[in-house]
């Protein structure tokens, strides 16, 4: 996705939220380029807020967000919002939604250029959606809608990709496609951060895990952070740890949460 290296994302003492309720505070993170970072936490823990605060979509209460020491350039970040936030009965096609990722580059008044059409076709192809480009978005399955959102982020050709629960409510095939694509992008130098409920997959595929619960509980490679202690700190009573012989078996809280096997410390 990018030839020049992605910048390092630097969060310093960041607090963010609306009015007097801060969803997150005291966040210090350095996200090096080309890493796949899984952001994990229970519902309402501030996972989404963390991603949205990086983009400035949630008001900052304290601290700073920077890219290589400079102010954030939103054009270098691609964002995949939660699918539920848009009206899928809107009269547009999958291809038209993907084209929106090119709008900043096209500018007002004029229409898409051949290069934009090629980028859209390429992204849809990459996600196995080439045949559905002209399909009305409301006629797509949940997994297909999520792929459209991902394709829209891809055509931005950004250095950093932020995904808000991309695996929630999608079919297994889409989940695998998204997982493989995130890995490919990282290998090509893009930084990918994604919020998830799925502890097991996150621990398997991510380079770094960021455990969140109103603050950053732990941040580092899965080997160092995926421990019963960190899980307990993050999920508290919502998590059940079952001793199953050689390793503990974890059940996350709520019906969304996945389960995972953790090596016993």
């Amino acid at each position: 996705m990018t030839a020049v290296g992605a910048p390092t994302l630097q969060l310093r003492g960041l607090a963010a939220g609306y009015d007097d309720r801060w969803a997150l505070s005291g966040v210090d993170l350095d996200v090096p380029p080309g890493r796949l970072v899984g952001v994990i936490g229970p519902n309402g823990s501030g996972k989404s807020t963390l991603l949205r605060a990086i983009l400035g979509l949630v008001p900052h209460r304290a601290g700073t967000v920077a890219m290589d020491g400079r102010a954030i350039d939103r054009r270098r970040i691609a964002y995949v919002p939660q699918r539920e936030l848009v009206d899928w009965s809107f009269p547009i096609s999958a291809g038209q939604v993907v084209m929106m990722g090119r709008y900043p580059g096209i500018g007002p008044v004029v229409g898409p250029r051949p290069a934009d059409r090629a980028a859209v076709a390429g992204a849809l192809e990459r996600l196995g959606m080439a045949d559905l480009a002209h399909r009305q978005i409301g006629a797509l399955s949940g997994g297909q809608q999520q792929r459209v959102f991902l394709a829209r982020a891809l055509v931005q050709e950004a250095d950093i990709l932020l995904l808000d629960e991309p695996m929630t409510g999608v079919d297994l095939g889409t989940e695998e496609t998204i997982g493989a694509l995130m890995r490919e992008l990282c290998d090509a130098g893009t930084t990918v951060m994604y919020a998830t409920h799925d502890l097991e997959t996150a621990a398997d595929v991510s380079d770094l895990l960021c455990f969140v619960n109103g603050r950053v509980v732990a941040y580092g490679p899965p080997k160092e952070t995926f421990t019963p202690h960190v899980l307990h700190e993050t999920f508290g009573g919502e998590l059940m740890i079952v001793d199953a012989g050689d390793h503990a078996h974890i059940h996350g809280g709520g019906h969304h949460a996945g389960h995972a096997d953790v090596p016993k410390a």
Binding site: D19, P81, P91
Partner: protein
């Protein structure tokens, strides 16, 4: 053909017809946003909110367009600012300022004597009263509204479909939404002489809602809305001429009747088409339905498949 040419004999009638067309086209085009963004209540509110501006401009002898735009803009801003907090929701803010502004207009008009006739002209329109200067303002303002809608079609579409993503891309979302309200205000002002404050809501939603039943893409919906609005204006005017009905009322009644016709007979989203397709062997049905329409216009094929699959979502 006398019924067609007779009404064109007098300049007075030609002016009225032109005004009805400009009003219909502008309302129908911006109506796509009113329908998809659910701005009908705001549209109704704005049309009432321009009233005090109209009265003040009338009394002061300045162009009504200016007074109405000013009142509409102030009300839009007041609604936007008050509903930005979390305690007062937007529809509440709209209710407060919409009725408040309209009341101000009524009080203002009650302080003037001999305004009875003019009041009804404001409320339901007075097509026969338009002069060339009114038409010039309408053409300029209506053309300006449509021009901006076309120039910023991508940006306005993006903000309307996915506000969060537009913000993430760095677009000035608040400014774009305010712009849309200003364009809506200008459209309402253009429509006052044809259909008046009370009936303008119909022209803001009915042509666009009819277009929504007939096409499945945003740009065609906006274009068709504009065309339908103009056509309703023309048909309504002829009906009013021949039956000696109120012009504004006739235009709105025509719009309503034709919406109902589309609601029943639309090939893709009509009640009748849905009923015909409600059979268990929908795969065979799909092939049969698809073929004729698919070859006529490519876009429609998607529409038919889409509406079929909304009934039977693939592997949800």
């Amino acid at each position: 053909m006398d019924w067609l040419t007779d009404p064109l004999g007098l300049e007075l009638f030609r002016r009225a017809l032109l005004e009805a067309m400009v009003m219909g086209a502008t309302c129908g085009a911006i109506g796509a946003y009113v329908v998809l963004r659910r701005l009908a209540f705001i549209g109704d509110a704005l049309s009432h909110a321009v009233f005090p501006g109209v009265v003040l401009a009338y009394v002061a002898g300045v162009p009504i367009f200016l007074g109405a735009m000013l009142a509409g803009t102030i009300t839009s801003l007041a609604i936007a600012v008050v509903s930005r907090g979390q305690r007062i929701r937007e529809d509440t803010a709209i209710g407060i300022f919409f009725a408040g502004a309209f009341a101000l207009g009524i009080v203002l008009i009650s302080t003037q004597s001999g305004y009875q006739r003019d009041l009804s002209a404001f409320l339901v329109g007075d097509l026969l009263g338009v002069g060339w200067d009114d038409i010039a303002v309408s053409v300029l303002a209506g053309g300006g509204v449509i021009g901006i809608l076309v120039a910023l079609r991508k940006e306005l579409l993006l903000v309307s479909f996915d506000r969060t993503y537009a913000q993430a891309l760095g677009y000035p979302v608040f400014a774009l939404e305010l712009l849309l309200l200003l364009l809506l205000t200008a459209t309402i002002v253009v429509s006052l002489s044809a259909v008046g404050i009370i009936l303008v809501l119909s022209m803001l939603v009915t042509p666009a809602a009819t277009a929504r039943l007939l096409v499945d893409r945003f740009t065609p919906m906006m274009a068709l809305g504009g065309v339908l609005g103009a056509v309703y204006g023309v048909i309504g005017w002829y009906v009013s001429y021949h039956l000696a009905w109120s012009p504004g009322g006739s235009i709105v009644l025509v719009a309503t009747m034709l919406f109902l016709a589309a609601f029943v007979f639309s090939p893709s989203h009509g009640v009748l088409a849905h009923r015909l397709r409600r059979h268990p062997q929908h795969d065979a049905q799909r092939a049969a339905v698809d073929q004729p329409t698919g070859h006529q216009h490519g876009e429609n094929e998607g529409a038919v498949v889409a509406s079929l699959e909304r009934r039977h979502p693939p592997g949800r």
